[in-house]
């Protein structure tokens, strides 16, 4: 019953996403939603399914955005090649940082990923190709195979949507695969997973690399969609945002990060015009509330209600 309801909701969301630009929602904003949703879904693979809190996921999101932007702008690379190169860099970075960070667990893991992402931030700040404080501007979207011109927002939107759906289904497949179940076993009880003979560190590293690569893909797309990349994409603030999106929507649920990302972005879009620096206060307050009374997040809470009701009818 619950599975069927979840599928229905997913399909409904899909239809909504296809129809949204037709009913007049601004496509650039929708694309931004999709990018950050992808970012949060990738992050959720770690926080939600493996219980690894990476406090520096902006490193992969941002570095991939920079690499794609730089190759496309300064070297005339094609859109697809540029994106793939960005993802490759994020993957490599995830491999290096992940290999160091999985040596420690829990709180240390969080602190190490945070510190190493700050390292990436400073490299981006000082390197030549990132444009320093100014970032990269005027990144062209190019075209697909020289056939489909991506400059039109609507065309770009449906391409991004297709990529997003693919990534979502991929993550769903990963979570439901034997590999995903080992990750969830690590989440529930790491010592037991070790005693069952799983090479836990390898599973964690693979999850980390996967998550970093997908975060990179989200970053590359964001650079292409908006046409610019700045230091804020690799900063601690972005790392914090993706945590909040996942937590608020419901970590460890497939749809949660999408709900969370949409909520946070809509809130920011609406609030930034009205309240200035209070955005950060409100985001901080949501963090506090989520941690104290709302740990399951929106989708997690709804699922728990459903499960409860089913339990009640069964009795």
């Amino acid at each position: 019953m619950r599975v069927r309801a979840a599928t229905a909701v997913t399909v409904l969301l899909g239809i909504l996403a296809v129809a949204a630009p037709m009913v007049g929602v601004y496509p650039v904003f929708l694309m931004k939603l999709l990018c950050y949703s992808m970012f949060a879904c990738a992050f959720n693979l770690l926080l939600g399914y493996t219980r690894m809190l990476s406090f520096g996921h902006a490193a992969y999101f941002g570095s991939s955005a920079y690499v794609t932007g730089w190759l496309v702008t300064a070297h005339g690379w094609g859109t697809i090649q540029g994106t793939l190169a960005g993802v490759a860099v994020a993957m490599l970075l995830g491999l290096i940082i992940g290999a160091i960070a999985v040596r420690r667990q829990g709180i240390y893991f969080a602190m190490i990923t945070l510190a190493l992402s700050q390292l990436v931030f400073f490299i981006c700040l000082q390197a030549e190709f990132t444009g320093g404080e100014n970032g990269l501007q005027g990144i062209p979207r190019g075209s697909l195979f020289g056939l489909i011109d991506l400059d039109r927002d609507l065309t770009m939107y449906y391409c991004v949507l297709a990529v997003f759906i693919f990534v979502y289904l991929f993550i769903r497949r990963v979570v439901r695969s034997p590999f995903g179940h080992v990750l969830q076993a690590i989440r529930e009880n790491e010592p037991r997973a070790i005693s069952l003979g799983y090479a836990v560190d390898r599973y964690k590293l693979l999850a980390f690399v996967l998550s970093a690569s997908l975060a990179g893909l989200a970053g590359s797309l964001k650079a292409l969609i908006l046409g610019f990349t700045t230091l804020s994409d690799v900063s601690q603030g972005t790392s914090g945002e993706v945590i909040l999106m996942t937590l608020l929507g419901g970590s460890g649920t497939l749809l949660g990060p999408i709900v969370g990302a949409s909520t946070v972005l809509t809130l920011e879009e609406y609030l930034s015009d009205h309240v200035g620096a209070w955005v950060s206060v409100i985001i901080g307050a949501i963090f506090v509330v989520c941690v104290l009374v709302f740990r399951r997040g929106v989708v997690g809470e709804i699922q728990a209600r459903f499960a409860q009701r089913r339990g009640a009818t069964r009795d």
């Binding site: 219980r51 809190l53 406090f55 160091i100 040596r103 420690r104 829990g106 709180i107 240390y108 969080a110 602190m111 190490i112 945070l114 510190a115 190493l116 700050q118 390292l119 400073f122 490299i123 700040l125 000082q126 601690q236 914090g240 945590i243 937590l247 200035g276 620096a277 209070w278 955005v279 950060s280 206060v281 409100i282 985001i283 901080g284 307050a285 949501i286 963090f287 506090v288 989520c290 941690v291 104290l292 740990r295």
Partner: protein, 293 residues
Amino acid sequence: MTVFGIPLPAILGQLTLGLVNGSFYALLSLGLAVIFGLLGIVNFAHGAFYMLGAFAAYLGLQAFGVNYWFALILAPLAVGILGVIIERLFLRRLYGQDPLYGLLLTFGVALIAEGIMRDQFGSSGKSYPVPGLLRGVVDLGFMVLPIYRGWVVLASLSICATTWFLIERTRLGATLRAATENARLVQAFGINVPLMVTLTYGAGVALAALAGVLAAPVVQVSPLMGSSLVIVVFAVVVIGGMGSIVGAIVSGLALGLIEGLTKVIYPEASNIVVFVIMAVVLIFRPAGLFGRE
């Protein structure tokens, strides 16, 4: 006189600057270590409390004419009380749970504090005057030392030493350490452990605020002054080994010095050297230099 082609005064100058930064690292990581030891919470808001300490001193001077010396006592007290309130209202509910929640909650607290200050005072830095008694320089013969910098190092070192003595050598410290090991047992001896926990958090936060006051005359007082510092301090704590007080102090100072030295030899890397060292330490000693696995 030159060493490896770099003039000696330049090296010594950067080393003193490094030592000053190292003193702040030591003070902040000390507070983090004390809080983590007893509460099991990694206090992400530590940088925000450091910032609030500096702002308390700045505002005290601007609004009420409170001078530097009073600010050294009043600002940590005020921020410490704020810490006590936050512990009572929020952190108290997280004990015995996954420490990740403590990290996330204090991250939220830091965002709130920084947002409010940014809304009130803008992002630009404000300068705080060096107190009259500590102005000027002394000529040490081999280098010229600004008195205030010397004062910061001395003051931090004595605060660190006092804290170390308090925790490792007094009866109060022994009780504190016992509560870290087994809170229930200590409670059974008739000691009010929850109160002790609250006060410990307040004290750790007050240490951060004290570092903020000390820093106010040498850095620009701004709402974001703590947000990147706290990440460096996290790296320091990972290098030293969490929960080790001596480790926190020694690695704080050492990393400050190394950072200073890097500024002379290869300035581009001075921002990242601490993180690189952290990565190297993790590869060879995952528990940190002073940590026990």
